[in-house]
Structures are given as structure tokens and as C-alpha cells.
Symmetry: C2
Subunit: 109 residues, 2 copies
Amino acid sequence: MGLAKTEIFTDLQNEIALYAKVFGHPARVAILEHLFKINACVCGDLVNEIGLAQPTISQHLKELKNLGLIKGTVEGTSVCYCIHKENWTQMKEVMFKFLDQDLPKSNCC
Amino acid sequence: MGLAKTEIFTDLQNEIALYAKVFGHPARVAILEHLFKINACVCGDLVNEIGLAQPTISQHLKELKNLGLIKGTVEGTSVCYCIHKENWTQMKEVMFKFLDQDLPKSNCC
DNA sequence: CCTATTAATCGTAATATTGCAATATACAAA
DNA sequence: TTTGTATATTGCAATATTACGATTAATAGG
């Protein structure tokens, strides 16, 4: 199949999975880390920064954009990318709640 | 290809991606949430709890176990699962650091 | 030993992902 | 208009993932 049965899970579970999936590739992690490090817009040097071909980077950027985690604004012939602050904060809340659940006190096994 | 070029990324980037990948499926999110909710060991009722076939659940559990996020201890004919507290805490630190990076103050785009 | 129960593994079909060459698009500068 | 530059899209090959039926292990209780 290769197809997740999303209909049997809650919206929140699917949302968490979607966010996590996009972080599930080191190239996208690297892109995001670079955007954070530069702390501003980045115009196209991502292809040089990360060692993947231009179409591949473009594809990863698209996935990040589709989830709303980054923004891209056209600037002449190039496109400037940066973190979408509001959406990132919102995503962070969802992921934190999932990751930060209370661990059982008892040592069960 | 379908094969990530892990060798061109840092160990940390690959580690983050591996953790995120395992959370990138709603079934595994649901399994973990159930383990947190029960707050103790769970003996095999995951198949009933989540609406997937037994081999499918078993496969998802294996992936969670491979990453060390859960433990499974044999108890007679059944197996009891629970969160691996130490490893979960360690994973949380890694993911928090990634998710909680400082957002740029300036509005770039 | 035999049988039932539970969970893991195997095999396989359907689908998704990754990466890139080739190409297309969009715009700036000459 | 033409040329160059930057990015997006298309198409495809290789591989990965998801799901499950069938089967296999492992153990408990007769």
C-alpha cells in the first residue's frame, strides 16, 4: 500500500504526523537550520549550502512551504525564503504538547 | 532513488530526521499517545485500540523499539510495552533544541 | 504431548519518497 | 529583443513505506 489510513486517526494525530514527516528528512532539517542561522531571508544560496541539486532543493522547499513553515517572496530573478514565524510558533505548540507529555512515575518494565 | 543522502548532513541533522520520521505516521503517534495515557505498561491491546491489523501494529512497534523510544518486555504469551523514559527525555532534548531556535526579530519578508 | 493464545516474521501489492536531468518559466540587463 | 540568471516543473528510475494475509515462534494450560 504505502498509504497511511489517516481516516482512522484523530485530526491532531494526523497533524502531528504531517509536521513530523516534513522534519523526517535531513535536507529539510538542514534548510531550516540554515534559515534560522542566517536569521533573515535567504536568496537561493541554499543549493550551494546544502549538497543537493537545484531541483531537489526546490522540491524540499516546496514541501516546507506547503505546510506553511517557510515563506518565499520573489525578489527579481531570485526568491527569498524565511521561516514563517507565526506558523512555526503554532507548529511548535502542537509538537511540544506531544513530546512533553508526562512520563509515568512508576517503573513498569 | 528514494534514498536520502545522509552522508552529506551532520550527525545531528540525521538524528533529528530519524526521530521525526518515526513520528511521521499517525499510527505511531497514536501508539505513543496511548502509552502515555495509560501511564503504565500495555499488554497487546494496541491492536484493538488502533484500527490496524496485528502485523501492521507489530511493525510500527518495532520501529519505535528500534529507535529506543519504547520498551517491550515479554510477559507470558503477551508482550508489555511502555515508553522508554530515559531515551524519550534524551530525544525530547534534541527535538526541543531544533524546534525552539530563536526566531528572527526583523520582519524580512 | 496437544491446543489455544499472542506476537513476530515473511511475502507481496499498492503507493510514496528521493534525487536528478531535462526543460520550462520568469525576470533583469544589455 | 536577446541573453543570462535563478527558480520551478516534469518525467523517470531507484528505493522506501504501508498494510495485511499467511505463516511461524513462543508460551500457558490442559
